[in-house]
């Protein structure tokens, strides 16, 4: 049995002469939560659509649960739960009826799973309310309940926390963590809310213009995220001179608001603050900082772009 739930090999998709996905080699290990990061149009949804069988690759291949033939892949998809580009709901049905339609589709015996799923996502009190009258957050929860029906081994979630209120975000995050830890459900989560993804993912894949730029673990990301000292003083120009002359470093950056990012001496903040105050500078702000996932992502794709 492969240690990977999903492994792609040069997976490519071309639309109207343009590569939407270009030779993507991705591997998602069993038990991991894989954060899939990319701008709008980067290729995330195309990738998910290929894996879930909604579209066919132009070139390349992939293995799902170690299976790669057409018939085997169809069977393997019985073991996954999905939310693809938003929750797929029947608007004129209640939450329980929506779950019933999917229970029948998945061939799950007994109706107990419906109440259990509704309780799991906090929708047990929705009664006869139709899905069309749900808030976006409630729809997301129902979409998640549907994805979780039948105890899938692999969850593919496209923007699962979109539209949730702050409490809802925390609840869903905790639920996903719990499912991952207790039931070892592997997850592929694409999200624009990178700070939230940072709290959840064990691995990351960064996709840009159809190319998978990088795959790394959360540990590797933390190591790569550059640490620095955030310094705000009354005289930034003088502070820059002091850093060069007294501390002998040019590893700093004066930001537009006058604050300084010092990438050296991150292990010796006391020495830096003493040197600056000894030179008569007034420290307005002084704190150690680290580059966040968002900054790392922006840096990795080559600066701020508009997707």
């Amino acid at each position: 049995m492969s240690d990977y739930i999903l492994k792609t090999n040069h997976l490519s998709k071309k639309y109207h002469g343009k590569m939407a996905l270009d030779k993507v080699d991705m591997a998602i290990a069993k038990g991991s939560i894989y954060g899939f990061i990319g701008q709008n149009g980067a290729g995330k949804s195309t990738f998910i659509r290929l894996i879930t069988g909604l579209a066919s690759p132009t070139a390349g291949s992939f293995e799902l649960f170690g299976e790669n033939s057409e018939q085997e892949l169809i069977q393997a998809r019985k073991r996954i739960g999905t939310i693809i580009e938003g929750p797929a709901l029947y608007p004129h049905m209640t939450a329980a009826e929506n779950l019933e339609a999917h229970r029948l589709l998945k061939g799950i015996p007994g109706k107990e799973c419906i109440d259990q799923s509704l309780k799991l996502v906090g929708l047990q009190d929705t009664g006869r309310k139709k899905a069309k009258n749900f808030s976006l957050g409630m729809k997301q929860r129902l979409g998640l309940a549907i994805a979780l029906l039948g105890d899938p081994e692999f969850l593919i979630l496209d923007e699962p926390i979109n539209g949730l209120d702050p409490m809802g975000v925390i609840e869903i995050r905790e639920l996903l963590k719990k499912l991952n830890q207790e039931q070892e459900i592997t997850m592929l989560i694409s999200s624009h809310i990178l700070s939230e993804l940072h709290l959840l993912a064990t691995h990351y894949g960064i996709i840009h213009e159809g190319k998978l730029l990088e795959q790394l673990s959360a540990k590797e990301l933390n190591e790569k995220c550059q640490q620095y000292l955030h310094i705000k003083v009354d005289q930034p120009d003088k502070a820059a001179t002091v850093l060069e002359s007294e501390l002998g470093t040019s590893e700093f950056e004066v930001v537009a608001d006058g604050s300084i990012k010092l990438f050296a001496y991150t292990e010796m903040p006391g020495k830096v603050s003493k040197t600056l105050t000894d030179e008569g500078l007034i420290l307005e702000q002084f704190m150690p900082m680290g580059e966040e996932l968002e900054e790392y992502f922006t840096h990795r794709i080559g600066g701020v772009q508009h997707g």
Binding site: R49, L54, I74, I84, Y90, A101
Partner: protein, 247 residues
């Protein structure tokens, strides 16, 4: 019944458009029959009333009204995103299509039988004279079921190609209004197409009403052609769906 059929049956039972359409036809059947009963003139014999009122009007219902159901029951799966969960559910696309087609045909049959069944029942209850010619009645009901399924198969093929319910309904209504006339015009110029037109479900469905005057060979044709149409359009539709990219 397998999982897909159960799912589609559950969705059909919960499809509001099916029950609204059926309800409207039912209401029309009741009102029309009552008005005909109460208009004071000489009452038409029960069997003639069935043949010349219920059945002749039903010809339009069989070929037009299910177009609306097709838009809501099939195409709207795309706009709701539920087609994605169906297609990624680990089921073969051909089986998905046929489950959908069979249940849509069931919906089309319910719509198509509402008028002949209820007009007959109500006209019998309110005292239209005479008795029903049961062999004729059962033959026409059977053929109505076959032709409703054949038309449903044609509708399903186009419904799976569009992703917008409105476009599907509009296109199908136009198609069913013009298909027979267009095929007739083309076959008058290209004579080799004449047998296709003459033996199409569009032409043959008009003969349901006079099935009591149809001979043995013609009767077999009346039965075989809608079944063949259902299968051919079903197979073509399933192959289109198999290769369709779902967005």
């Amino acid at each position: 019944m397998d999982n897909l059929m159960k799912t589609e049956w559950f969705k059909l039972r919960n499809d509001r458009s099916l029950w609204v359409l059926t309800g409207i036809i039912f209401a029309y059947a009741v009102l029309q029959t009552m008005m005909d009963r109460l208009d004071g003139g000489e009452l038409t014999p029960l069997n003639d009333y069935y043949q010349y009122y219920a059945l002749s009007f039903n010809e339009q219902i069989v070929s037009y009204i299910p177009c609306i159901l097709a838009g809501f029951f099939i195409t709207s799966e795309y706009s709701r995103g539920t087609m994605k969960s169906l297609a990624s559910s680990g089921n073969n696309r051909i089986r998905i299509y046929f489950a959908k087609l069979v249940m849509f045909a069931a919906g089309a049959i319910i719509i198509s039988l509402t008028m002949p069944v209820f007009m007959t029942v109500i006209s019998a209850i309110v005292g239209f004279p005479g008795s029903l010619d049961w062999p004729y009645y059962l033959q026409t009901i059977g053929l109505t079921i076959l032709y409703a399924a054949a038309f449903a198969s044609i509708m399903a093929l186009f419904s799976i190609m569009f992703t917008d319910s409105g476009k599907t309904v509009g296109f199908l209504l136009l198609f069913f209004m013009l298909a027979d006339t267009m095929l007739g015009m083309i076959s008058s110029k290209l004579t080799f197409l004449k047998p296709v037109h003459d033996n199409s479900v569009f032409q043959l469905s008009k003969k349901i009403i006079e099935i009591n005057q149809v001979g043995g060979t013609e009767m077999i044709k009346m039965i075989v052609i809608p079944i063949g149409t259902f299968l051919v359009f079903g197979i073509v539709g399933s192959l289109i769906f198999k290769h369709k990219e779902i967005k």
